[in-house]
């Protein structure tokens, strides 16, 4: 495995891990709020957060590239604060990954929170438990498997990210060149041996992750099924 490939592997794992962690922090309260929110605008909000599931990655990447460029207000603000441009940087692809992987965190958590029998929360309320205690002591343990699923799905999805990263990050080794782009690079250069190593590595890693997730799914079904 070439040094650039090892760098790409490290960058990919770092991107996937940080993306999943940030989405866990953002997605949990968002999913909890959505599960209890009753409004005629709810389908609209659910559709917006689920858009990355159906949108071609290049579409999202294109709009993010425009938003991240120094010509846009957001991009200019970022550059003023950090001194670096957001497009074609690690932070750019991180922000893109967060938006692109949001539904993969949100959907399992939203489904788990929505399906949680309301009686548990009513009981906890009548026992005198406050909102935070109800969430931490009842909701989180009962939906633990969904948290693991959501984190794993985000991680796995970010591992395989290509279109969005290529659009907003380009192909800069050590900065934005993730495994999928390094693989594309090897194929473009007809370095099939290196391409095989990366492709097989991604395949095995993704497969193992999915096996672990499905095992967790089975445990969740047992918990209150």
């Amino acid at each position: 495995m070439a040094a650039t490939d090892i760098t790409a592997l490290w960058l990919t794992l770092k991107l996937a891990f940080i993306t999943s962690c940030i989405l866990l922090v953002i997605g949990t309260p968002l999913a909890w709020w959505l599960s209890g929110w009753q409004s005629r605008f709810k389908p609209l909000v659910l559709a917006i957060v689920a858009l990355p599931l159906v949108l071609p990655p290049t579409v999202l990447g294109f709009y993010l590239l425009i938003a991240f460029s120094p010509q846009s207000e957001f991009g200019a603000l970022w550059q003023n604060i950090t001194g670096k441009q957001l497009a074609f940087s690690f932070y750019g692809i991180l922000l893109g990954s967060i938006l692109y992987s949001l539904p993969f965190m949100l959907q399992p958590l939203y489904a788990a929170f929505s399906q949680l029998p309301k009686t548990y929360l009513d009981v906890a309320h009548t026992l005198g438990m406050g909102k935070v205690a109800r969430f931490c002591k009842i909701v989180v343990p009962l939906t633990k498997a969904s948290f693991i699923s959501a984190f794993g799905l985000c991680f796995a999805h970010t591992l395989g990210e290509f279109g969005v990263v290529l659009m907003i990050g380009g192909n800069i080794p050590g900065e934005t060149q993730v495994l999928s782009i390094a693989l594309f690079d090897h194929v473009e250069s007809m370095q099939y041996q290196q391409a095989h190593v990366l492709a097989a590595g991604l395949l095995v890693l993704s497969f193992v992750l999915l096996v672990v997730l499905y095992r967790q799914h089975g445990k969740k079904a047992q918990l209150w099924g």
Partner: protein
């Protein structure tokens, strides 16, 4: 919208309104209730009983619950709602950790409610009845000052239900814990409650002491009529499997019950009338009475209202029998009947 309370030494009153999605009153209920004992809440499905309990428990955010004398209303739901990630003991310990003071030892309470052998078990795999016992214990150990029971014993079999209801009566007294108990079974409520609220279409249409309410509710029953005789337990004839009661100074026999009854329900269709004292027979219950009224039931049936001391006994007879016996108001009569289900409304 809102709930206002007036409190005296022996009673408290509530007034509550909860709108539905169209702004109409889903619940518009008020009543004055005793501050101790067990209060029954009776009504048909959809009358709003559960919603009223939820308002009192503070679970309905659209209804304002203000200034009730009970700051901690515990509730046992139709579904036990034991937390499945915790063991039985952990469920109880969690509830105890939120109690302002210790009510009772977990071991003692589990013994009383008959699940001490399950204390170390996971909640998964327990029967509905076992779960409900644990849910009751969990609510009690949380030290509420009002306990709301929403069909809490409906998942239990008859014997377990009677056992648990007896324990609830005992705990209500020993812990000075008032309870509001929802049930469809008027007979059950009549045995265990001191007071009764009758709910229809979101309103408390009547409330009062249990004897008064049971009489009142019977009048509105569309099916067969029942008399509700207040009685005092005298003795148990265990060799015959029978209990003897006193009703207005006269003896009345029933098959042995799990607990002494306060009220005996007698189906009007089961009462036989004689104008002279019957000779010795197998029907042990024979009460002397005075005919105080004759009411029409339908074209071929009449209902006799018999006065027995301060109480009334109803007897349904045919028009043919009425004519043969030549019954007249004020006549002394002998009423005979067998009691198969004295605590139930089973004809």
């Amino acid at each position: 919208m809102g709930l206002t309370m007036s409190e005296t030494a022996h009673s408290w009153a509530f007034k509550s309104k909860l709108p539905d999605s169209d702004g109409n009153a889903r619940i518009d209920a008020e009543a004055e209730l005793p501050v101790s004992g067990i209060i029954g809440l009776y009504g048909e499905s959809g009358a709003g009983k559960t919603t009223l309990l939820r308002i009192l428990a503070g679970l309905e955010s659209n209804a304002n619950l203000t200034d009730i004398p009970f700051k901690r209303a515990g509730m046992v739901f139709q579904q036990a709602g034991l937390f499945p990630h915790l063991s039985v003991k952990q469920n109880l310990q969690l509830a105890a950790s939120y109690a302002p003071h210790e009510v009772m030892d977990i071991g003692e309470l589990s013994q009383k409610l008959g699940f001490s052998h399950l204390i170390e078990r996971d909640c998964n795999g327990l029967s509905g009845g076992e779960q409900q016992r644990i849910a009751i214990a969990r609510a009690i150990i949380n030290a509420p000052d009002l306990l709301l029971l929403d069909e809490a014993v409906s998942a239990l079999d008859q014997t377990s239900r009677i056992n648990i209801l007896n324990v609830l009566v005992e705990l209500s007294q020993t812990l000075s814990l008032p309870m509001i108990m929802v049930s469809h079974q008027l007979a059950e409520l009549s045995q265990y409650c001191d007071y009764l609220m009758h709910m229809q279409a979101g309103k408390i249409v009547a409330h009062g002491h249990i004897q008064q309410m049971v009489q009142q509710l019977n009048i509105s029953r569309s099916s067969g009529a029942f008399s509700h005789l207040q009685c005092q337990f005298k003795l148990q004839h265990s060799q015959y499997g029978m209990d003897e009661y006193d009703v207005e100074g006269q003896a009345l026999f029933t098959a042995s019950q799990n607990k002494p009854l306060n009220i005996i329900n007698v189906a009007a269709s089961r009462v036989s009338i004689s104008t002279s004292q019957p000779a010795q027979g197998s029907m042990l219950n024979c009460l002397t009475a005075t005919l105080s009224a004759i009411e029409n039931v339908d074209q071929y049936k009449r209902r006799l209202v018999l006065q027995i001391g301060q109480q009334q006994l109803l007897a349904d007879i045919s028009v043919y029998s009425l004519e043969i016996l030549q019954l007249q108001i004020g006549m002394p009569l002998w009423a005979q009947f067998k009691l198969h289900n004295p605590s139930q409304f089973i004809d």
